[in-house]
């Protein structure tokens, strides 16, 4: 799939917030013969505040899936995850902690 939709689940588990996020993205490598196209930045926000900043390479698998864990938190917290790729395309998703 070309770069596209995301899906996210954020749930309370053992007093912490578990975040699982799926991103539709080709993540093509320089070796694949296709134009290099991959996500470079991923940012996780909790109630508007940045909690995780990631830089990633083309070595992350196609259609990336990440799990993160936030300290504490509560049901209803707003979790936002956004990505930006090497072509300047981006996407984000927001969900409330269940």
């Amino acid at each position: 799939m070309a770069a596209g939709p995301m899906k996210m689940r954020a749930t309370m588990a053992g007093g912490n917030t578990d975040v699982r996020v799926l991103m539709t993205h080709p993540m093509t490598t320089a070796q694949s013969g296709q134009p290099l196209h991959f996500i470079q930045n991923v940012v996780v926000k909790q109630n508007g505040r940045t909690v995780i900043e990631a830089e990633i390479s083309q070595a992350v698998s196609r259609n990336p899936v990440f799990s993160f864990r936030l300290k504490g938190g509560a049901k209803g917290d707003k979790i936002e995850v956004s990505w930006l790729d090497n072509k300047g395309e981006s996407n984000k998703i927001e969900t409330a902690v269940a």
Binding site: M1, A2, R62, N63, P64
Partner: protein, 263 residues
């Protein structure tokens, strides 16, 4: 993976013991299933299910998959089954095709123009299969077995499974007819036996990590016949539905756990 397979693998991958190799491959399979992007396909499939299309510009939302118009929950687990309105046994893709032509007014030629997609552009059938199959998670596989045409399909599927032809004299059983065999490193389940058919049928359709593609059961059968050196089975043909019927009835009772994630 067979016991023998693991011994060989472990010898090659010394010093890991056979038991460890078995455990590690199981762990790999478990972990790729946990970290699977398969839900992205379900999401796109849901959007396509609800999208008005075709000359009649309607969505598939009133498509009857066997439990009544628009009822998705558990519908996939009951397929293939006989449909009175078409007087035919249908699997999921065949039924979807039926709804595309009857509800949306699309031609069969247009709707089947591109049934198997690729990693850059999955097909409509693939997205829809992901979404619909997912609505049967936890439901026991129970393909139709009471209508005479359902029984006929089962018998035909069974006969096809053991029928030897093609440039390489193969039947499905040439590879899937003995316990504990593998092709290269790939396990070959003995699909005519319930205990081996169950975990396989319960996890199709599936996301394939080796090529990042979502694959339907129709594709699975099509690609088997390609490798068996046969001509191509027609999409949604009675032969393919009969084979699905034979496999699904053999796997009856297994709770559906798909869409799966495979190597």
């Amino acid at each position: 993976m067979t016991r023998l397979g693991f011994v060989v693998l472990a010898l090659v991958l010394a010093p890991a013991a056979a038991q460890d190799a078995r455990k590690e491959i199981q762990k790999y399979q478990q972990m790729i299933a946990d970290g699977s992007p398969v839900e992205l396909f379900e999401l796109e499939g849901e959007a396509l299910w609800k999208k008005p299309q075709g000359p009649k510009n309607v969505s598939l939302e009133s498509c009857d998959l066997g439990l009544g118009p628009g009822i998705l929950k558990g519908a996939y687990a009951r397929l293939p089954r006989y449909f009175k309105d078409a007087d035919r046994v249908m699997d999921l893709e065949t039924r979807l095709l039926h709804c595309m032509t009857t509800l949306q007014g699309r031609s069969a030629a247009e709707a089947t123009k591109r049934v198997f997609g690729n990693e850059n552009q999955p097909s409509e059938m693939e997205f829809l299969s992901a979404f619909i199959a997912a609505q049967s998670r936890g439901m026991k596989l129970a393909a139709g077995t009471s209508h005479p045409k359902e029984k006929e399909a089962y018998e035909l599927g069974k006969a096809l499974f053991f029928h030897r032809a093609g440039a390489w004299d193969m039947s499905c059983a040439s590879c899937h007819g003995e316990e504990g065999k593998r092709i290269r490193m790939q396990d070959l389940p003995l699909l005519s036996r319930p205990e081996f058919a169950r975990p396989i049928v319960a996890t199709w359709p599936a996301y394939r990590v080796s090529n990042s593609q979502f694959k339907t059961m129709q594709w699975r059968l099509n690609d088997c016949y390609r490798q068996m050196r046969y001509p191509e089975p027609r999409f949604a043909s009675d032969a393919t539905i009969a084979l699905s019927m034979f496999l699904t009835v053999t796997a009856a009772g297994e709770p559906y756990r798909g869409p799966g994630t495979k190597r």
